[in-house]
C-alpha cells in the first residue's frame, strides 16, 4: 500500500519534471510589470518581485532539481557499492582500511565541506553539483552495504562458489549483489532525498549558478526579495512543499519495500545488537530509509 502511494506520487513528479517545460506559459526569467501578484488565471502560482511567473519557474525547475537529486544519489550509490562490498568481503588490511575510510568520511560534516568546495566554483552546473554531492555522501551507504555483505558472505552459497573456484568478481556480481539489492535500492532512494535537500540548501545560500532554474534557486530569490515579510505565500510555498512531498514519497517507497523484506527477515531472527543498523533518523532534515537486520 505504501509502496503504491509512494510510486504514484513519485511518478507524478517525474512526469512533471519531464513534461513541465512544455507546459510553462512564460519564460521563467522574463520579468513583467505585474509585481507580487497572487494566483490568478493568467499566473496560476502568482508572480515574483520582478513580475516573473512562479508557475513557469516551478515547472521548468522541476527537471533540474530531480536530475541533480538522481545524479547525486547515483554517484553516491555506485561509490557506496564498490567500497561497501569490497570492505565487507575482503577481511584483511584492504577491508579494514576501506571500512576506516568510510567511517572517516561519515563523520566529517558534509555541508560545511560542500560550502567550501562549491564556493570556489560559483559557475558550476547541475552535473558538477550532482557529482560533488555524490562524492561527499557515499559513506553512509557504504557502511550499510558493508554490514549486509558481512552477513551474506558467511552464507553457504558463497562458500560453495569459492570452493568451486569462482573469481571474486564473479562472486560479487552473481552471489552477493542479488542479496544486496534491497539495501542498495533503499540507499539509493534515501540518497535522492538527501541530494535534493543538500542542493536546495546550497542554492538557498546562493552558492550555485543562479541562472539555472531549480526549486532551490526559487527559494533563494524568495529569501533575497523578502517574500516572507511581504506575505507572498504563493511564491515560497510551492517549491518547498514540492521538495517535502518528493522526499515524503521517497520515504514511503522505502518503508513499503523494507516492510516487505522484513516479513521474510522475521523468520530468520538476526541479532539486532552489534550490526550497524541503518537508523533512518541519523540525517535530520532528510528522509527515513529502510532497515538492515
Amino acid at each position: 500500500m505504501k509502496n503504491k502511494i509512494g510510486l504514484i506520487g513519485l511518478g507524478f513528479f517525474v512526469l512533471l519534471a519531464i513534461l513541465g517545460p512544455l507546459f510553462a506559459p512564460y519564460d521563467p526569467s522574463a520579468s513583467s510589470a505585474d509585481i507580487l501578484q497572487g494566483p490568478s488565471p493568467a499566473h496560476l502560482f502568482g508572480t515574483t518581485q520582478q513580475g516573473q511567473d512562479v508557475f513557469s519557474q516551478f515547472l521548468v525547475g522541476a527537471g533540474p532539481t530531480l536530475l541533480v537529486g538522481f545524479l547525486g544519489a547515483a554517484v553516491a550509490t555506485v561509490l557506496a557499492v564498490i567500497v561497501g562490498i569490497t570492505s565487507g568481503y575482503f577481511r584483511g588490511p584492504l577491508g579494514e582500511t576501506l571500512a576506516l575510510t568510510s567511517n572517516v568520511f561519515l563523520v566529517l560534516p558534509t555541508l560545511p565541506l560542500l560550502i567550501v568546495i562549491v564556493g570556489y566554483f560559483p559557475d558550476g552546473g547541475a552535473l558538477f553539483l550532482g557529482l560533488v554531492i555524490g562524492i561527499t555522501s557515499w559513506a553512509f551507504g557504504a557502511r550499510v552495504i558493508r554490514a549486509q555483505t558481512l552477513t551474506l558472505r558467511s552464507r553457504d552459497y558463497v562458500d560453495a562458489a569459492r570452493a568451486v573456484g569462482d573469481s571474486s568478481v564473479k562472486i560479487f556480481v552473481f552471489d552477493l549483489v542479488p542479496g544486496l539489492v534491497p539495501v542498495i535500492a533503499s540507499s539509493f532512494l534515501f540518497g535522492v532525498a538527501y541530494s535534493i535537500l543538500t542542493m536546495t540548501g546550497l542554492e538557498f545560500l546562493g552558492l550555485t549558478n543562479l541562472s539555472n532554474w531549480t526549486w532551490g534557486v526559487m527559494l533563494f530569490w524568495t529569501q533575497n526579495n523578502a517574500a516572507y515579510q511581504q506575505g507572498a505565500w504563493w511564491w515560497y510555498v510551492p517549491p518547498g512543499l514540492a521538495i517535502a512531498l518528493v522526499g515524503f514519497f521517497l520515504s514511503l517507497l522505502n518503508f513499503g519495500s523494507s516492510e516487505r523484506s522484513r516479513g521474510s527477515a522475521r523468520r530468520k531472527r538476526v541479532p539486532a545488537a552489534n550490526a550497524p543498523v541503518l537508523v533512518p533518523g541519523t540525517v535530520p532534515g532528510t528522509v527515513a530509509g529502510g532497515e538492515v537486520a
Binding site: 576506516l100 572517516v104 561519515l106 563523520v107 566529517l108 560534516p109 558534509t110 555541508l111 560545511p112 565541506l113 560550502i115 567550501v116 564556493g119 570556489y120 566554483f121 532525498a193 535537500l197 536546495t200 540548501g201 538557498f204 545560500l205 546562493g206 552558492l207 527559494l219 524568495t222 529569501q223 516572507y228 515579510q229 506575505g231 505565500w233 515560497y236 517549491p239 518547498g240 521538495i243 517535502a244 512531498l245 518528493v246 522526499g247 515524503f248 521517497l250 520515504s251 514511503l252 518503508f255 522484513r262 531472527r269 539486532a272 545488537a273 552489534n274 543498523v277 537508523v279 533512518p280 533518523g281 541519523t282 540525517v283 535530520p284 532534515g285 532528510t286 528522509v287 527515513a288 532497515e291
Partner: protein, 337 residues
C-alpha cells in the same frame, strides 16, 4: 591486581576510539589543507588581491600557509607550516570582519551555536524517540498518523520550514522575534535581562530545529521498536503478567534505544549542517551566520577555519558519544568482530 586488569580493559576499549578520533582529525586537517590548492587559481589569487593592502607580515604568512600561494616553500614545508599555525590556533585575519582575527570571530560566535543547537538537538532526540516508542509499540492509531507525519517533517527543507515559522509567528502574529540572537539595545553579559532576551530570541529557531529533526528520530525509533517486539524476552515479560506500560518502557524501549544512541553521534555532523541554514534564516549570531557572511565575501580563510572548527567539534562530540555507548551497552564491551 583486579584494579590493573580493569584499567587495562577500559584502556583497550577506549584506545581504538581515541585512535579513530585522531585519524579523522588528521584527515580533516589534510582536507582543509588540500582544498585551496586544488581549486582554480584565480579564486585564491582574487582573495589575496583583496586582502593584500590590509594585511601585514605575520598574518600574511599564515594566509600563505593556509592557501598555498605566494610562497616558495615546497608542498611539504607548506604542510608543516600549516599544521603549526593550526595547532597554535592562528588562522589569520578575516576579511569579512576586518580587522578581527579569524580566531576571535569564531570564539565569539560558537557559544551561540552550541547553545542553540545543543539544546534543540537534545530536545528533538528526546521528543522524537519518545514518540517513536509510542508509535512502534502496539498503538496502531498513533502509528498510522505518527509515522507518515515523521516522514513528512523530516523531508522538509529546514530553512523553508523556518521561514514559514517566522512568517506565521513573527511577522503575522508577532509573538516572537524573527531574527537576531538578542535585543541589540542590551549589552552582552550574564545579566537576567540579557539571558531572558537571548532565550526569547532562541524560541523560534529552536522550535524549527526540533520539529524538523524530531521526525527522523521518531521513525528510527519506531522501526527499532517494531523489530524488538517480536523478541522472546518481550513475550516472557508479558507472560509474567507485567503491565503493558512497564514492558514497553523497561524492556522494549531500553533495547530499541541503543542504535538510536549510536545514530545520535552520527547525526551531530548533520545537525550542525542544518544549524547553519537555520542561523542564516533567523540571522542568529552563531558560527553558521559567520560562514554565510564569509561566503558572500568569498572570505576563503574564514570559510576554511569555520569548516575546521565545525569538524573538530563534531569529531569530539562523536568521540564522547562513542564512549557513552560503550558505557551503556555491555555487549559492546565484549570484543567486537
Amino acid at each position: 591486581m583486579a584494579h590493573k586488569a580493569a584499567w587495562l580493559r577500559i584502556g583497550s576499549l577506549v584506545a581504538p576510539k581515541l585512535g579513530f578520533f585522531l585519524i579523522t582529525l588528521w584527515a580533516a586537517l589534510t582536507v582543509n589543507f588540500l582544498i585551496p590548492r586544488l581549486m582554480p587559481g584565480n579564486a585564491v589569487d582574487g582573495f589575496l588581491g583583496r586582502v593584500q593592502g590590509r594585511v601585514n607580515g605575520a598574518s600574511l604568512d599564515a594566509l600563505r600557509a593556509t592557501l598555498g600561494v605566494g610562497t616558495t616553500d615546497n608542498i611539504f614545508q607548506q604542510y608543516l607550516t600549516y599544521l603549526n599555525a593550526t595547532l597554535h590556533l592562528d588562522f589569520g585575519v578575516s576579511l569579512t570582519f576586518f580587522p578581527q582575527s579569524v580566531s576571535e570571530v569564531i570564539a565569539q560566535s560558537i557559544p551561540w551555536t552550541l547553545a542553540l543547537v545543543g539544546a534543540s538537538t537534545v530536545l528533538a532526540f528526546v521528543l522524537g524517540t519518545g514518540l517513536g516508542i509510542v508509535a512502534g509499540w502496539k498503538w496502531k492509531r498513533a502509528d498510522t498518523f505518527l509515522t507518515p507525519f515523521g516522514a513528512f517533517i523530516s523531508s522538509m527543507p529546514y530553512f523553508w520550514f523556518g521561514l514559514i515559522v517566522i512568517t506565521i509567528f513573527s511577522v503575522d502574529l508577532g509573538w516572537f522575534p524573527g531574527y537576531g540572537g538578542y535585543d541589540p539595545t542590551l549589552t552582552i553579559g550574564w545579566t537576567p535581562e540579557f539571558i531572558a532576551s537571548a532565550l526569547y530570541h532562541a524560541v523560534l529557531p529552536a522550535v524549527t530545529i526540533v520539529i524538523t529533526a524530531m521526525g527522523a528520530w521518531l521513525v528510527g525509533m519506531r522501526n527499532m521498536m517494531k523489530s524488538v517486539t517480536v523478541e522472546d524476552y518481550i513475550l516472557l515479560a508479558r507472560a509474567k503478567g507485567l503491565k503493558q506500560g512497564r514492558v514497553m518502557w523497561s524492556y522494549a524501549a531500553r533495547n530499541a534505544l541503543l542504535p538510536n544512541v549510536s545514530g545520535f553521534a552520527l547525526s551531530l555532523g548533520f545537525v550542525v549542517s542544518g544549524a547553519i541554514l537555520t542561523e542564516v534564516v533567523f540571522s542568529y549570531p552563531g558560527i553558521g551566520q559567520v560562514l554565510y557572511q564569509a561566503i558572500g565575501n568569498r572570505d576563503y580563510l574564514l570559510m576554511q577555519a569555520v569548516f575546521l572548527i565545525i569538524t573538530v567539534t563534531v569529531l569530539t562530540l562523536n568521540l564522547l558519544s562513542d564512549l557513552v555507548y560503550l558505557w551503556l551497552d555491555p555487549r559492546a564491551r565484549g570484543g567486537r568482530s
